[in-house]
Amino acid sequence: MEICELTAHKLHNLLTSKEIRAEEVCLAVFKRINQVEDKVKAYLSLVREEALEKARAVDRKIDRGEAISPLAGIPVALKDNLCTKGLKTTCASKILYNFVPPYNATVVDKLRQEDAVITGKTNMDEFAMGSSTENSAFQKTCNPWSLDCVPGGSSGGSAAAVAAGEAICALGSDTGGSIRQPAAFCGVVGMKPTYGTVSRYGLVAFASSLDQIGPFARDVTDCALMLNAISGHDSMDSTSVPTELPDYRNALVEDIDGFRIGVPAEYFAAGLDDRVRRVIEEAITVLEQRGARVEETTLPHTEYALSTYYIIAPAEASSNLARYDGVRYGYRVEEAEDVVDMFSRTRSRGFGAEVKRRVMLGTYALSAGYYDAYYLKALKVRTLIRRDFERAFEKFDFLISPTTPSTAFRFGEKVDDPLTMYLSDVFTLAVNLAGLPGVSIPAGFVDGMPVGLQLIGKPFSESTLLRAAYTFEQSTAHHLKRPPLTGEVK
C-alpha cells in the first residue's frame, strides 16, 4: 500500500519509530492529489506550502525527541464550510466566492493544536444543501469507486478525498446525513456525533438545530482519533455540552458479546435496493457471530421524518442565509438602484437553484399564517420521532440499518426531482432530528460500489458505537479495499 493510502494510526507509529518523516507523508498525499485530482475534483482549494511547513515543524518536534499527538503530521482535509483564518471559505457558493474569514472554527484550532496538517478545503453541495455534491457552484466531485457516479453529499469532497488517498482523514458536517451518506457511497467511515459533542463555532450554519461536525476516516480507529481531537466543550457555542467526554480510543475493543441490537423494520421497507439489503443482512450475521443479539424493532414515525426534516431544515436555513446580502462580505451585484434591489439581485445571482428552493420553502413555512401548520407541527412531530428512538433504546444498546437505500447514483440522475433526491437521505435524517450519534462503516459492495452500514446510538454513546463498529471492522476486510479511480469521466 502506498503512504497516502495508510491510516493515521499506522502513520503515527511510523512517525514515532522514525521510519517515515511527516514531510514525506505530506508530499505523498500532494503527489496523489496531483495524480488524481483532475478526475476526482475533491478540493476547492489547496494549501501545499503551509501544509509542508507544518509537516516539517512536526518533524523537528520528533527530532527534538518531543512526544507528538496522534494526529501530528497527519494530512487532514476540511469541508469548505469550516471557517479558516486567512483561507477562503466559500461553502461552494458564488455568494461567498471570495470570503476570507478573519477567524478559525473551533475544530480548526483544535486540529492545529494537535499538529494535524491541513491540506485544503473540500467541495460540497452549496451551503451543504444536497446529497450528491452536484449543487456545488464550482465543480462536480466524482466518486473514486466509479467516476461517473456521485460521491454523495453534501460532504462529497471530504469523503472522496479520503477514499482516493488525497487526504488521510477529513472533516465534514452532517445536517441530515451529509457525512454518513457520502461515507457510505465512498466506502469510508463517517460519523455524526451526538448534537452538542463538537463545537459548531465556525461551521457556516445550514440548519442550526441539526448541524454537527464529524470525521471521515479509513477505519474506525482513525475515526476515534479524529473525534478525540475535535470533541469537547466550547464556551463559544451555547449548545455545546459542558460535560467531560471520554477518550474514544478506550472504545476500540473487539467485544460485543451480549450487546442487544435493534433492527428498525421501517428502514428495510420499500425503496431499499435488494442487493443493499443482502449486504446488510450479511453484516447482521457477522455481528451475531460476534455474540450480539439482533432483534427487529420499530420506529413508527419514520415515514414522517422526511417531511419533518424538509420543513425544519429549510426554515432554519432561510434564516441563517439571510445574512448573505452583499453588504459585509462576499458577492455583490454591480449598479444597484437601491438597497432592496441590491439585496434581491445579489441573492438571486449569488445562490444556486437548490439553495433558492430551500430558502423559498423555509420562508414560506415561517411566514404569517403558515407557522403553526408547518413549522410548529414539524417541531411537534420531531418530538414523536425522538420518542420512537427513546422507546427503542429502552431495549437496545444501539440500532443498525443501511446508511442509504442504494449505492451511489449517477450524475444527473436525481437533480431535476428534488423529492427523489431528498429520499436518498431517508435513513439518516431522523438521527439528526433526534440529535443522536450515527456512524456509517463499510459493509460490503454491490457491483463494485460500496455499501454503508449505519449504527445509531443513544445520546453520547459514541463509545458504544465505536466499539461495535471496531468489532465489525476487525471481523471483515471491506475497509482495506481501495478504489480503482476508474470509470467513465464526464
Binding site: 470570503f99 465556525g202 411566514s367 404569517a368
Partner: protein, 480 residues
Amino acid sequence: MTRYEPVIGLEVHVELQTASKIFCHSSTAFGGDPNNHVCPVCLGLPGTLPVLNRNVVEAAIMVGLSLNCSVARFCKFDRKHYFYPDLPKNYQISQYDLPIAYDGYLDVEDEDGQPVRIGITRVHMEEDAGKLLHQGTIATTPYSLVDYNRTGVPLLEIVSEPDMRSPQEARAYLDKLKTIIQYTGVSDCRMEEGSLRCDANVSVRVRGSDTFGTKTEIKNMNSFRALQKAVQYEIERQIECLETGERIVQETRTWDETRGVTLSMRSKEEAHDYRYFPEPDLVPIVISPLWIEEITQQLPELPDARCCRYMDAYKLPAYDAGVLTSSKELGNYFEECVSLYPQPKTVSNWLMGELLRLLNDTNSEIGEARVRPAQLAGMLALIDKGTISGKLAKEVFEEMFRTGKDAQAVVKEKGLEQISDEASINAVIEQVIADHPGPVSDYRAGKERALGFMVGQVMKLTRGKANPGLVNRLLKDRLG
C-alpha cells in the same frame, strides 16, 4: 378634545450599560471610530454563534421587578427577521412569545394631580442594530455608510398598555419610567444620546366608547418635550380627520421636529412579516425563585418608597419629596447634605430653589454640578454662624456653583463677610443720622416706619454686609 378621548401606549427601548455586548465580548463603549468595537460575532460573520451575557439577564430581571412585573420562570430568545443594512444577520435576536417579565405597572399623576396606574405589558431583551450614516437625509443621500459599533448592544424593550389618556400622562409615564430605571442603575436613559428611545401608539375615540380607534405609530421623537408635542399633534390631527370624515390610516408616522408635524413614512417595505421562530443557537433561560430573591435583595430603594421616606423621616412636604426623588442623583445629593447639615427643609429649599434653578439655567445635570453637598452644608453653617447673611448667601452660592470653591473662600475673596462689630456699625449709624435729619425726627415723633428707612441706609452704606439684626438694635438704642 372634550368629545374625543385619546388612547396612548408607549414602546420604550433602553440601552443597558453593560461592559460588553449582549452576545459577544465586544465593548459597548460609545463613540470612537466607526467599526472599531466589533468582532466576528456581532458582525454576524458566517459560522459565528451568540452566547448570552449574564448581566443582561440580571438587569432585565431587576427592571422587571422595579416595574412590578411578574418575572418569567422560563423564557427564550427568538429570531425576528427583516432585511436592513444595519442588521448584520438580517434578523434580530429578540424575545417573542415568552418575554422575561410581564404584567407590571407604574403609578403617575394626571394633569389634576390625581394618581393614575399605567399597565406594563412586557419587558424583553434584544440586541441593538448598527448605525446608518447619510449625507443629508435618508431620502436624499446618494448612498449610506454603515457602522456596526452599536450592533449587539443590549436593549430592553418595555411595552405599556394603552392606558394613557393625554400627552401629559404619556410624558409623566416616560419621566417616571426613566427615573425608575436610572434608580436601578442599569441604564443612564439619555434620550438625546439614544440610550432611551420611545415610540408612541396613538388613537382617538369618542369619549365613553369601549372600542379603540385606528392607531398610528409615531417614531423619531428625540426628547421628552418632543414626545409630548408629537403626541399632542397626532391627537389633534386624528380628531380633525374624524371631524372632516377622513379615514385614519393605520401606519407608521415620523415626528418632524422643525416643522412640528407627524408625517407618513411611505416606504417600499412590504407589510411586516417577521417570521419569528425560536433561536436555535441559544438555550432557554430558567429563572429560579432563589435567583429572583437574590436580585430583589440587590434592588435599590425606588423613587416612590424614597419619596414616602422623605415625608416620613425628614417631614418634608409631598411636593418637596417628589421633586427631590425625581432623580436618583438629586436624592443622593439631598441625603448627603442632610447628613452634614441636619435641617432637611432648609436643605430642600436651597436645592429646589437655587441649585435646580442654576442647573436649569446652565442646562446641566446634578452629576455635573461643581458645588458638592459638603460645600452647600458648609455654606448653610456660615449663615447660622452669622458670617454671611441669608441674602448674600445666594450670591455666594452662585459663585460656588460657578467655580466649585468653598463658601469660606468665596466670602473672603469677595469680602462678603457680615459686619457684626458694634463699633463699625455705630460709626455708619452716626453718618446716616447726620445725613438724614428728617427721618430721625420722624422716628422720634413716633413714626416707626422711618426706622426701616434708616436700617436700609446703613445696609446700603455697608453694601449689605452689616448684620441686619444688630443694625436694628443699635439704631433703636441710639435714637431711643
